[in-house]
Amino acid sequence: MAHKRTTKSLAQRIDLSYFKQLYPLPFWRRVLTFSGAAAVLIWFAWQGLSGRAGAYNAGPLSKPHASLQARCESCHAPAAGGATFNRKVAEQNCLSCHNPAIHHAQQTFTPTCESCHVEHTNAESLTAMMDESCTQCHASLKTSQGSPKVAASIASFSEGHPEIAVIKTGASDPGTVKFNHQVHLKKDLRSLRGVVDLKCADCHRPAGSSEIWPYADPKLVSAGSRIWAKAPQAYMAPMSYELHCSGCHPLTFDSHIAEPAPHKEPPIVQEFVVSRLRDYIRLNPQAVFEAAALDPKIPRRADQRTPHNAAEWTTMHTQDADLLLWKKTCAECHTPSLKGTDLPEIPRANLTARWLTHASFDHGAHQMLTCTACHSQAPESQKTSDVLLPKIAVCQQCHHAGSQAADSRCSECHLYHDPTMKKPIEGKYSLFDFR
């Protein structure tokens, strides 16, 4: 039997140095390993020598910074005091283009720019922060003056966010103009224009609205509009007599004079009244001798005299007008303070244009809602002192955590950098720097 397998015959077929040679598989493993390593080194050297950023580029910049994509040194400049290895972003680099104000004078530490504004994420905007940027302090707030009691343990909009300040303090509307929403929003309201149904938007509109004011005296509209151009866009424009009230509440003062008095301080009104009366009597001298029709609206004075001349007539009618105005017409909404026969002082209206001073609110983003959806207490409000802002719970109904809720991030409403302290920076770049 020629073919017998024994251990010795099998072993003697083997060349004993076989394991020292490189066979194809290990050979290619080794070749590819070395060439891979060499490729890495060559690539690295090439990147370094040609100044490319491939080795350290952490991702595309956000859209606002896109023009800096090729200029790493705009942000990653070497630290001051000589070239060091470290190329971390220092705050000076941000400040060369931005100058944000600090958040609060008593904050115990200032986070670095990049701890909240994370770049290299191809973001649309760098300003949308995660809640953690804020809650890192506000979750258990400590200031340089100790632990405050407000805004001290906010975990998120739904947890620990304090009630709206003005509601929480129970403050009242400081406005001095007397207004009763309930009356005005009544159905079938009788007015000078007949029976009307006022809607919220007839008076409350965001600034810049170009729609016709239905209850404005057309002759006074342009004067009011000029005022509104200064108001912030997101907020409802402040109330203006000319645009909102003049239509139903004209400041007529005398039956002889159709033109209403201007809605201004009493001295001006007085002067207007007097001048109009004088003009009238001059043009209509026979009116001196006309019996004064009793006007039930005008509160009577005790002594009723008959005017003899124009001057007396003017004086008498002026007095009547003053009575009408100061005691009735103006007092309808204002609280003139009468001091004897002097002109009254009417306190400033003190209408609040913006209620939320620490947060921003955009009515435009909420225009799909009815006004009373949030301002539910408005139709029942009788007093001016009622603060008709919705409670925060109303906001929280839509703005809460979860992917199917409206955005409830801090940055949705709040700003870190105090906008009132914002200062413009002195620009020092030319166009060449950004081309």
Binding site: M1, A2, H3, R5, L10, R13, I14, D15, Y18, F19, Q21, Y23, L25, W28, R29, L32, T33, S35, G36, A37, A39, V40, L41, F44, G54, A55, Y56, N57, A58, G59, P60, C72, H76, F85, N86, R87, K88, P111, S115, C116, H117, V118, H120, T121, N122, M129, M130, E132, S133, Q136
Partner: protein, 291 residues
Amino acid sequence: MRIDGTHRPWIVTTSCLFVAATVFYVWYASHAPAGPRGGSLQGLIFGISGYALMLFAGLLSARKKKPVWRLGRTKTWMRGHLWLGLLSFPLILYHAGFASRGPLTRLLMILMYIVIGSGVVGALFQHYLPRLMTSQVPLETIYEQIPRVREKLQEEADRVIVTACGSLEGTSPDDIGAMRALIAIEYGEKVKLRQFYTEHVRPFLQQPDDAAAPLRHALRSQESFSGIRTILPETLHPALEDLEEICEEERQLILQKKLYVWLHGWLVVHVPLSIVLLLLGGVHAVMALRY
């Protein structure tokens, strides 16, 4: 390698570490001001530990270069490579916050997927294939020596024929002369055997990888041999048996080659790419910390 009960301590430890890391990551990611980032402290912890595990995994090759040095058993290093290497995958993902935006980091992420993936695939091969090889290739030999063994088998087959038939080439009938009549039958069979050998068996032994050879297939070979066995006398049957055994061994060597390539071929992807991954990872670590 078999991943059996002896791996259990490693599996348990790795799972615990994984769970701990995941818990830590979830807590950290939900509290990070700007989301999980590689450069934050926790991100760095993940990155360093992940890279350290990768380095350890990569050092297995180096350990195998000095098998006698007492640096811990290669068996331990191998298991560490498997399990701790696998653990580095989630750690790096946690380090990256599941994002890879820059060109280098994207490349690293892809490389890591390939390396870990090829490693897992390779581990599966090395778990299942040895058993398959053992059962399917009983006549296995050393892979690197297959060409030499084939030479020896070829020589042995030649010897079998020479012993049985006199010579490989064969003598022409005229040389036999007067004895022809006496040994005609015996001679004829030897010619047949020699013919069978030179036409079918020898080409197969010389080019075993040629897919067209009928002897490559066990059943067809069996048929061929039983056919020729029927027409040859019993005196030549031992030679045929030897040839048949040699052919069987050749067939098994073909199978062994295939299985071996599967068993070790994936390393040609895994090893070079892992070195590139480690080098680039180091570059990334330095550059990311610098910037």
